[in-house]
Amino acid sequence: MLTSKDLMGTGLSSQDFKQKKVLVEKWKANAKYGWDQGIAIGRYLRELKNGKIIGVKCHKCNRTMVPPRIFCEWCFKPIDEWVYLKDTGIVNTFSLCYVAWNMERLKEPLIPAVIEIDGASPGMGIMHLISEVDPKKVARGMKVKAVWKPENERTGAITDIKHWKPVK
């Protein structure tokens, strides 16, 4: 039987570190990458630069998918077709997030969402941010539209879409 007296494990408080009660070593990793975009994501980003969202279609299962991939993961075969999608969609699910990625507190919430893209098969969404909206009014099923960066600021990145905003 597990009893507290046999348990090992030495807990420290943040004070122990601040007051230098324990010795420490630090390291910042030098870990940089240039990930090859490849055929599918390369095209996706090039099209984003053009202000378009592109997906792919598998004729076997008849799914239109986004983000694009060169294979259909369910049929395990190459995809058959590139398909331009609309830059509108509906909110599949969302959150009102008050902390940044590094846990810093935010005053105004970020609104991450899974957005089902019009023109893709039902349920085919991408993760992005919603803005220009009263956070209280965001709801599942809400219709949204991409707000693009000006053409000359687009770089071929998911952030070429600044965010999504509601359409009435």
């Binding site: 990793a29 090859d36 993961e73």
Partner: protein
């Protein structure tokens, strides 16, 4: 329990110093498609278990496991990652099939080495963070220290190590998969830029991109599906200590113990006589000799004589790395072991073309996880 396990399909991309036209997913997909076609199977229906071998820092993604299933046909199927050498991944599929619960298993490993912009900075993160890393010494120092001690204890010379490089890169000239085929002289190798003396640039396998997929099956499945099953007669995998302080510095003990395990399983008592050729780790020139010695193919100094006398040449009595090894193919990180399996299977099936060795019935395949580890695996394959 199922007794014998065979390799029934192999697939690999070519190995190249860069592969900018394909994402890692696409690279994996290419190798997988080839392997499944080779095995004559549909992964969505026929494969019971999948394993991929990957490390987060090498991929640049935490929990890289997430991104592995789709391109292998493994979505919503039993699949897991082994953060280990590809050959150890092969062992993991081998064990799964041996339980008798599964019929066909797949192991994948790949390298997008070129996507690491700071490979040395990344390798530094593998060193102990309190005893070694704060010294701020390049990790190749470990190879320099080991090579020096190995030469000191065995009497092996720098020239003999250089001859390993010459042999392997020459073999690679005939291998369409290889990235680093070359015709080199002793002078070329010995006068290449010094990295960590006595280990100079050409003594070190240069990185390459590529993916390898291997399909394994139980005996019943293998006999039904394959005309040329290659049997896994023995397999062993061992870790020694990860701490630089308490490891061996001349001997590859991990390799010795893994070989003992594999030999025991395969019933091999006289490896030199019972094995026809070997594909062994040569991520550093001296490692080929050190590993051969560890696997009881002869003592260290004897391995020096072997290389002098051409015993391990393609047409020698005991060909070693006829594929070109990592020095010739390129260093594929954790895919290295599976690349060697791929090349050994080609030999055992007599499909190795110009690289075909005369006698190819039993192969020895060995892998090491490279710096700074003492972790490796050994497999005995037979046709």
């Amino acid at each position: 329990m199922s007794d014998r396990i065979a390799i029934i399909g192999i697939g690999a991309t070519q190995f190249r110093s860069i592969s900018p036209d394909l994402s890692y997913k696409e690279l994996m997909f290419e190798a997988a498609v080839k392997a499944y076609e080779d095995a004559g199977i549909n992964p969505r229906k026929d494969v019971d278990v999948f394993v991929t071998c990957a490390e987060d820092y090498i991929e640049g993604t935490s929990i890289f496991d997430e991104y592995t299933p789709d391109q292998l046909g493994a979505a919503l199927r039993p699949m897991h990652t082994i953060s280990q050498e590809g050959l150890t991944g092969l062992a993991s599929v081998y064990l799964q099939l041996r339980t008798g619960e599964f019929g066909i298993g797949v192991v994948e490993a790949h390298s997008k080495a070129s996507n690491m912009l700071t490979p040395d900075g990344i390798a530094a993160c593998a060193l102990d963070p309190i005893y070694n890393r704060p010294l701020n010494i390049n990790h190749h120092a470990i190879a320099g220290l080991e090579m020096h001690r190995f030469m000191y204890e065995t009497g092996i010379t720098e020239d003999q190590c250089a001859k390993v490089v010459i042999k392997n890169r020459k073999n690679a000239l005939e291998n369409p998969f290889a990235a680093y085929g070359a015709s080199l002289t002793l002078k070329d190798v010995n006068q290449s830029e010094c990295v960590a003396c006595p280990c100079c640039e050409l003594h070190i396998a240069q990185p390459a991109d590529g993916a390898v997929v291997i399909v394994l099956a139980t005996e019943a499945k293998a006999k039904a599906l394959s005309k040329k099953p290659i049997w896994i007669k023995g397999i062993g995998w061992i870790n020694c200590t990860p701490t630089l302080e308490s490891r061996d510095w001349a001997k590859a003990t991990y390799c010795e113990k893994a070989a003992e395990m594999a030999y025991k399983m395969a019933g091999i008592k006289q490896p030199r006589k019972e094995i026809d050729f070997a594909e062994v780790d040569d991520t550093f020139s001296y490692k080929e000799l050190q590993h051969l010695a560890a696997m009881k193919l002869g003592c260290g100094c004897e391995m020096g004589k072997w290389i002098d006398n051409g015993v391990t040449e393609l047409n020698g009595e005991f060909p070693v790395n006829p594929s070109g090894g990592s020095l010739g193919l390129g260093h594929l990180y954790d895919a290295s072991g599976l690349a060697r399996v791929y090349m050994a299977v080609k030999q055992l099936r007599r499909e190795a073309g110009k690289l075909q060795v005369r006698k190819a019935n039993t192969a020895l395949v060995q892998a090491w996880r490279s710096l700074p580890t003492t972790s490796g695996a050994v497999a005995i394959l037979s046709n």
